[in-house]
Symmetry: C2
Subunit: 200 residues, 2 copies
């Protein structure tokens, strides 16, 4: 009654995040019940992504193996400002906001003493090298508003402070569309501390 | 910024049931962030399932291409009783209960005038042929307790009634672990109509 290849597919699906044994069964039987092209397409797309996707050695973003990095090689982007993020997804999120048109540096994580992640485990030396070699005038620290993100920002700031560079960080405050009543007090306290003069 | 092979994988994941665009992105970036063997294994498992899995021409259950059907060829199973279900998953559910050790026949759906599914679209002719050829003494109708399941059961019963066969159906009633207070009235009414003499 146990068909090995079905069990193997269920197991493979259940290694993915948010997919338990039950969802994995449902996906497997869905594929078996439908046109094989669906599953074959997924299979090819999986291989294709490993065959074609690489990391840019400079910024750390995804790039295709054949072409140069779409971010670093974009001549329309400002070469004087560098945005430091922890993950590739953060870079994608910032790009989708269209609010930054400079260069990126992806650290590959945040400093986390509890999880045993030290500065050496991240692309921090590469960042300092890039700053030393480059013509940047501003470094934007766009790290998570979490304890680890804060630790990482403080670490970077302590090493970059004193140079001619302008070191900035993205604002902490009330997220768009949120009512004050339901906002936690740390966010409110940060938003108050970061208050600015009102202008039209 | 749009990397074609990443977009393709996101799209392929989002064709699966219960996986929206956001989950598909999360799965894709999870795979890109982890050991490629995870995704390659999923890719191979997907192809493997199509290469190795077939349907048993007799009962309709999954079988490997090389071997005979694990249900039909099992000599320990009773050949006198035949359980009729609509879907393969129903067969798996019954098998996991260990309460039936006879033969199966999977219809491939239920009669549904609203969805345009007529008896001709299901493996009903094959069922009648199998009953005519076989040595069955009991046909167990194990169809969903839904309108379409009921329609299908009535249709089969109307064609099989009058023969020497014992036609039975699985009981409708209160599911295990349920409180009467929270049970819908149709279930309660069916459970009452199907009441049996109390025995220790």
């Amino acid at each position: 009654m146990q068909l090995e290849s079905i069990e193997r597919l269920i197991l493979a699906f259940s290694t993915l995040p948010g997919i338990g044994k039950k969802s994995a069964r449902r996906l497997t039987f869905f594929l078996l019940d439908h046109d094989p092209s669906l599953g074959k397409n997924l299979s090819e797309a999986l291989l294709g992504v490993y065959e074609s996707i690489d990391h840019c050695p400079q910024c750390g973003f995804y790039k295709t193996r054949e072409e140069p990095c779409s971010l670093c090689s974009d001549l329309h982007r400002d070469t004087a400002s560098l945005c430091v993020v922890s993950k590739i997804q953060d870079c994608i999120a910032i790009e989708s906001s269209n609010a930054f048109l400079g260069q990126y540096h992806i650290l590959g994580g945040t400093i986390s003493p509890l999880d045993g992640v030290s500065p050496k485990d991240l692309r921090i030396d590469a960042l300092f090298q890039r700053i030393a070699d480059g013509s940047f005038t501003e470094i934007v620290l766009a790290l998570d508003a979490t304890v680890d993100g804060e630790t990482t920002a403080q670490y970077l700031y302590s090493h970059l402070d004193g140079s001619d560079l302008r070191i900035t960080r993205i604002a902490a405050g009330i997220p768009f569309g949120t009512e004050l009543e339901y906002t936690d007090r740390i966010t409110i306290s940060r938003a108050l501390n970061m208050r600015r003069d009102f202008s039209r």
